[in-house]
Amino acid sequence: MLKIKNLKAGVEENQILKGLNLTVKAGEIHAIMGPNGSGKSTLSAVIAGNENYEVEEGSIEFEDEDLLDLSPEERAHKGVFLSFQYPVEIPGISVSNFIKTSINERRKALGIEKLSTPDLLKLMREKMELLSIKKGYLSRNMNEGFSGGEKKRNEIFQMAMLSPKLSILDETDSGLDIDALRIVANGVNKLKSKDNATIIITHYQRLLDYITPDYVHVLYNGRIIKSGSKELAHELESKGYDWITKEADKEWA
């Protein structure tokens, strides 16, 4: 589904990703872990198409199509979804209307008829239940005055509503208490199917107690320096990153 080859990208003169390779197949969950500043958020921003980042080299293919040529909205229409580490507050537009616009813009791009209001409401009710979201929340302004946990839950709610093919969860676990974490993880697990894939970007192993990844990658200094199964996450939790990063540093020195 997703093929990243030798990706080099950064902000202005500052190269952050230094030749990253990653392949994600449908039905898989990948966890990308790594210390602060290793390039985790840059990777998610580049996949989603944030124009603040410049791609210098390499390629990203999504379902055998060059993703880098597409605008952020076109990527979303193809089924790429990024759950933001810091969701943006948008005053003046309610959650329900934001989601409605978002769904219908995608449908328009795909040449599908707009979702009728009853169908939309039905779908919303269903997904709200999945994420234990109360009704009043729909009429609140998008992320305005939301707590950190509410913002993250709102991200997963949108993911559920849009049912993307590839979801990237950027530090979705940060700022969540244990109950919220469980609800969010439960949502992600229920949305999982053989046709979609998830990339979980996280600093801690906490979320991985609830969502079992098929692969765990360690991102360090702009490259994936180690890949393994879910056991790697446990190892990192108990031993920290030093034992791998030191090795990598030696290798690059």
Partner: protein, 406 residues
Amino acid sequence: MGLINEIKNYSDKKNLSADKRSALDNFLENGFPTIKDEEWRYTSLKKTISGKYSINAVGRDVTKKEVEKHSLGLKHKIILVDGFLISKPEIKNISISAYSEFISNTNEALEKLNYSLAKNGYTISVHANTTIEEPIEILFFNTVENNFIQYRNIITVGDNSQVKFIEKIQNIDCDNVFVNSFTHINCESNSKLEFNKIQNNTPNSSLIDTVDVFQKKDSVSNINTLIFGGKFIRNNLNFEQNGTNAESNMNGISVLNKNQLADNHTFVDHKSPNCRSNEMYKGVYLEKSKGVFNGKIMVREDSQKIDAFQSNNTLLLSEDATINSKPQLEIYADDVKCSHGCTIGQLDKEALFYMRSRGIGKEEAQAILTYAFASEAINNITINKVAMLAKKLLINKLDVDLDHNI
């Protein structure tokens, strides 16, 4: 040549009273204000007054269908055609009649001109202790092309009375009409007024609209100015607080494109202690449009405990759009709270990316953010039909397919 000569020719044939003649002579001596005049520095009348005009000409009748088309559909309607009052509602404890002559003390050229040439407009008096629940719509229709027309209106809101108005000027079968309107409003003690001005006239229309509000103690006056259409608009909105605990509120929204110009000059004269003023003007400027804002707040020496707030926030959505924004605070009392803020900016890039990453196209996302920006001022409008109209006009102007129920 130009309008000033037309005014000369017109007035030579008229038998004006001594006061009006003197006001007119004074006007003719100095002419229309130019950009050398500090109050008109960014707002040039040159093009507007260089055209050929008739003065106060009268055209045809307006049909019921035309009224319906341009009305907000409110129950109470006052209808004026080419300045003449042709229809008015019967409302208990309100007297509504045509123009009545009154003098105003002014140094403003346009007001002098208005005083000397005006023959038309409305006179409204809301008697004391009267609450009018249903808003009253005031519709001015113009039917004569290339006409320079004066409206001169006076409203009195009696002691303890409450009333809401919506005023709209609409050209029918004509485009280039230059309106010079003056409205004098008296808010008596403990009265409450909401006055909504919808300025969405035809693309070549010009308007100079001066509203002077005189407030007595405990009165509240809310004036909302919604600018969407027209080529040239200058609003002078002046409040004089002549009693304690008076409150003056202003909301303004300008959404302009093409070569439109809109200038909002406001002035709050805090002449009494323990009074408040709140001012929020928002502007969205597209293409080659131009905005001007000048917000003057004066707190007189003995006016202690004044709470005055002013903001002017602007979105410039094109390289060629401009805004000149100037707060002007003159404070001579020491125990006052005055604040003003002015922002000029583009849309938040982070928010744009967030929305685009959810599949919302760039233009749609820009429109939603712009809508969100302007809606703060729209939310202060208490008449639902006016708020809905403002939202609809905003969406139309941004040229997007957006559900205006958001």
